[in-house]
Symmetry: D2
Subunit: 401 residues, 4 copies
């Protein structure tokens, strides 16, 4: 737990500065695996609608770390965690996305990997990372992995890293709002921090801060439906999935790719080949897609063309009214085209759920009399929003001829 | 000059919206060549210091267009330009960076091309772009090329596109400040627009707006020295130049690259091979550099390693005090290492110069009595800043062993 | 409808500039009655909690005008209103609060006047104002009065000036958020303007803008409960009401005030004495309260002391649990003290109501098929919020001994 | 030096929150004299041009305190000051403007008082304030007075409170920019704090922060010339001075004022009558001016009319060209009118001066080799600005007939 002789800062457009006090954190930021996050964008399809949002997982990860750093100023957290746990919290916040690859969502669907699992494995086994973490103590890497896997060894830190209101979400909502220019994502983090307490190992928020929580949940709701689930962003994501799908199928068939597709081959034969996995960043995948423009495979060439030139696929709401129209469209495609040029995709999101069993699933409210209640019971506005249930948006996407 | 049936907008984090009224502009934005700018970052080395600045030339180009769109609300500009010239102005603003490639500065130094010349050629000859522009009239593409080449056919538009205070700079200073988080780049564009007049075909600013101009020039000065010329950004740029240099030398030697280096080869044999040139975007170059990590060429592998893992080279101010130290460092390198691992680089910048002969080199001030003066003669603050002359910063960069 | 030879602007911290094109608007702004609004603060008790919010009705009125000015850029509004109606709209927006006096809410409760009625009367009869308005045409003043009284002569303008989503609210929510520093009041006015249409004389919003409306209503909800209805603000308002009450009672008794209380006397005998009414601005009332510090009347002196030195009264929620406690407190006061040192006050607010009969009470949504629906039917989030009904907060305030 | 059991915060539009940790600071804020600052506006004439700037000295004083609070996080300051000195610093920052009265500048000119001297006297003798300060120790009040009088007992604190770059200026430049909407006043306080060190008891700034200092000085320069010295603001100030002048002259003549002018009388006979002085806040003076509208004295009535209705006086630059014109105007006035309706007024300001003898007059720069240099010697930009010397703007103001 060595401290830097002088606090180091990185200029950040949202928070002014990212503040680093610990030698460990500095070394983690400088590590190859963390620098690799500069080569993985935070939002894939979204930037096709909101052109300003070209930021990477690197800046988001620094942001999550900074929010965690601020959380340590909360008296109850400062008291609840010992020095080692504080550093665990900071390191886990910094590394929470370390397992992400290029266009993860589409990639994972197609190649059957999971960035969270991979993240924990990298922390445990990547030589440079492990060496850095071992300078703290032998269990440090294991304990970060415990936290990211939510194995309840450090339940408080797990709540702070991943729950309905955690350091990850606080950063990405604010940051994505900043870069997209969306008017909706602003959250009063300072206020939330000021009303945060720990009671019986649980994160609770004072009743007087309930408006800040309501506001956060509604901002989240709006960001999902206005930004993350924007029709164009989703269409672009479908385009990307189809590229991955075609590549996978061609690899299976033994198609002679002109460029280096070794990392993908290795992942296909062994989804736990970490060395191959970390090769697959945006630089690699984008370079590959760029080369597909002149591929001899017609389908791959077509998909790459759409991707590179923002030829957005069309979408239709899936509902009884449109059923017939969708069927008619489908009829115009061959079976192979159906596979690669059309897709049913559904997104859904609730403002707030309260039905989980484990911790982290409810937001707890600390009443003035010291008792603990839940957000649902204290906020009329949230209670009524919960009545509106989960909003679902099924769509049919297809490549226009 | 067809108008869209309804104005189209794109959400922008700086200006709220980018406003598009013209069918032509819409088509240009949707064109492959313009979408390609999404794959070319605005700032190369700078993001290694200011992590937030990961934006592309695409968003900058939209921004320059939007500023031009606002300039058209200036009564004098509205009057001075006919409808065709207005559209020329907007299109030229949008396309002013269309000739940029990946990491242009380093690339151009090494491969002897020029993005401005290429931009004009692309406008004249790229099939899709030309087809779109020709829908206006046969001379439209030529006239945009005239403007970008500053051939004085449309002197007023040229001033607005490229001078000491133009739509390009207004966007990039504001935008780079927004994304880096720098406190210095904010410019009062609204005020500048309100005091802008045209007299005898010249852009002039009313005396009452002189503070906004002073402020703009000083913001520019600070952005250069605090952001663009930051030691780390420059060191990173040197790293990149050396990669290009090594690739070029290896290509000359006939080194057997494993990846597709055809576009580079073509550019080397013919710097005007536009088709090859437009292949060379960030996707392509980044993919290449990623592959160099496992190159059999030691130097290339080393340079790529530094680039990918943010191993920033060291720098020393070149001045009499340090001369000896630099010589000593140089002695430790072989001749080949000197070539690829060290570099002398100088940057310089003035707050404002007033010594050019052509138009566009002075900022003119409109006095209350209707006479035209110059910024230098009206602003004591700028006059004294000009006395301080051009600031120069020569540095020696080297890869630490 | 004369235009200024050059658009005039006023620097505004929210909108950059307030833009004035019309000679009439310029003259109205320069008029004595409008300048008087500089001497009437927008928020009375609120600034005792949110110290930044010291702004006047003058800046708010300019802001409402500016929003109206922007509304005129909406194609449908531009088309629906002729030139005279546009100017009526702008003038009505500017003058909508012209009848406000010092600490209106408390004043009106005590002295039985109504600022809206008075506003319309001032527009009709104040010599300077009437003279300015008459330069347009003989009916201009009457027509503004019609609009402010909502007499349905200009139903569209009335909707824009005063409805569930009008130029007045758009400015005050944004402005009060800016000055208080509240994180909640931000509204996407640009977006709202872009989705606003007129159908059958009704203001409607395109379905695609529904998130901006949801966001606006929730921002409004939060501003009410977090800012306007803050316990301390309400306590301060009660203090103020008691001062007015004591002054009124003393005036009735013929108490020999040392300062000039003529305007108050006149209003008491004739609530329609406009000349007296316009004397009663913050300068006058504050001067009076300052003088009460040394009044010979103990109660008045006490109340003024609390007011001037931020001695905030205590409050208790009125509910069955607290009934007994409140009764006990009341018992400790004499009858006179009960009157001047205690108060029951209830505030209530709904996120959105939809049950009015007249126009202006619903927010209408324009569907993609051209049909008109209502916000309630289109927004699940608002529908559920309406279920939560009207939130009510009854409190008992008292001066601690 | 008792701490509050929980840090208390006040919402601030600039800094998010004002943070209070000390019982003493809390009590000082709640004191009558400090609450009185709510009744004294920060800027007098300026709000006649920049309507948004209606804030009080209360919010500015809280802001200065907050900046001081942040300065305590600077390692060198934290080390250089013991606990008592830290509290002295915070209290002095909070109270630095406690001696201000209504429209101080004009008032002091006319009635021969000095708000700084009065401030120190109030700290020493005002019963409530003294009682609060004495709870710390017997010397606490005296020591704050020492600091505000710059008597070099606490030279470091004095520098931080009042020098070329102090907590007072940092707040007012930022705050006035925020409320006016001026684009120029933004200062990178976070950066300045990070490069601030103490060497040999002197405040020094690291060379790497020199751009932030340059930027601060230029922001200051622009705020002075664009905002504080705006022609209209100065004209309004002249109007106000003439009102004070007329009141003073009438008091000398024994004119029978209808309203309470006792505090002014007392100040005239004894400029050190603190009890009278603290009566003279904006509430009092504004109430008085409002009553002058119906004064039987023609001049006073006229001056009050102009003041209340924003009848801005005309101004002419005093220079050889205009000399004749000014003389001609003067001839049209009687001697009495000359006295009350015309005025010569000169303002002047330098970007930066370096010629003082005492400490606090230079900004010191800490070089990388540990030596201390001066801003002038290290900043080419500031050196050249100093060459441009002091800018002076003499004007002749007069009431148009």
């Amino acid at each position: 737990m060595r401290k830097l002789t002088k606090q180091q800062v990185f200029k950040d457009p949202l928070y002014g500065f990212i503040h680093v006090d610990d030698v460990l954190i500095k070394k983690l930021i400088d590590s190859e695996l963390f620098q690799r996050l500069r080569r993985i964008r935070q939002l894939s399809g979204v930037q096709m609608v909101f052109h300003g949002a070209e930021h990477s997982r690197f800046v988001h990860s620094l942001g999550v770390y900074e929010i965690a750093h601020r959380f340590l100023t909360v008296p109850d957290i400062n008291e609840a965690l010992n020095d080692r746990e504080k550093l665990l919290f900071l390191a886990a916040a910094l590394l929470h996305d370390i397992g992400h690859g290029a266009y993860s969502h589409a990639f994972e669907t197609t190649f059957g990997v999971n960035h969270e699992k991979i993240g924990a494995q990298l922390i445990l086994t990547h030589p440079e990372l492990r060496r850095i973490l071992d300078t703290e103590d032998d269990m440090f890497a294991e304990d970060i992995a415990h936290i990211l896997r939510k194995e309840k060894k450090f339940p408080l830190i797990e709540q702070l890293i991943s729950s309905q209101l955690d350091v990850d979400r606080l950063d990405y909502l604010e940051r994505d709002a900043y870069y997209t220019g969306a008017a909706y994502g602003h959250i009063d983090v300072d206020r939330l921090i000021r009303v945060l307490y720990i009671k019986n190992g649980k994160v609770v928020f004072k009743l007087s801060g309930i408006h800040a929580i309501e506001n956060y949940l509604i901002a989240r709701y709006h960001m999902y439906w206005q930004v993350y689930y924007h029709r164009v962003a989703r269409a672009y994501e479908v385009n990307l999935e189809k590229i991955y799908l075609r590549v996978r199928d061609l690899l299976k068939e033994g198609y002679p790719f002109e460029n280096n597709v070794d990392p993908l081959k290795k992942i296909m034969s062994n989804p736990e080949d970490l060395e191959a996995y970390i090769e697959i960043d945006d630089f690699y995948v984008n370079g590959l897609i760029a080369s597909f423009k002149s591929s001899s495979d017609f389908i791959l060439r077509t998909l790459a063309y759409d991707f590179l030139n923002r030829k957005i696929w069309t979408s239709i709401d899936v509902n009884p009214d449109n059923e017939h129209m969708i069927k008619d469209i489908e009829k115009t495609y061959t079976e192979e085209e159906l596979k690669y040029y059309t897709s049913y995709r559904t997104v859904q999101n609730s403002t707030y759920r309260d039905d989980g069993e484990g911790f982290g699933d409810k937001i707890y409210i600390l009443l003035e009399n010291g008792k603990i209640s839940t957000l649902k019971d204290q906020s009329k506005i949230i209670e009524s929003l919960m009545l509106s249930g989960t909003k679902t948006d099924p769509k049919f996407f297809y490549r226009k001829r």
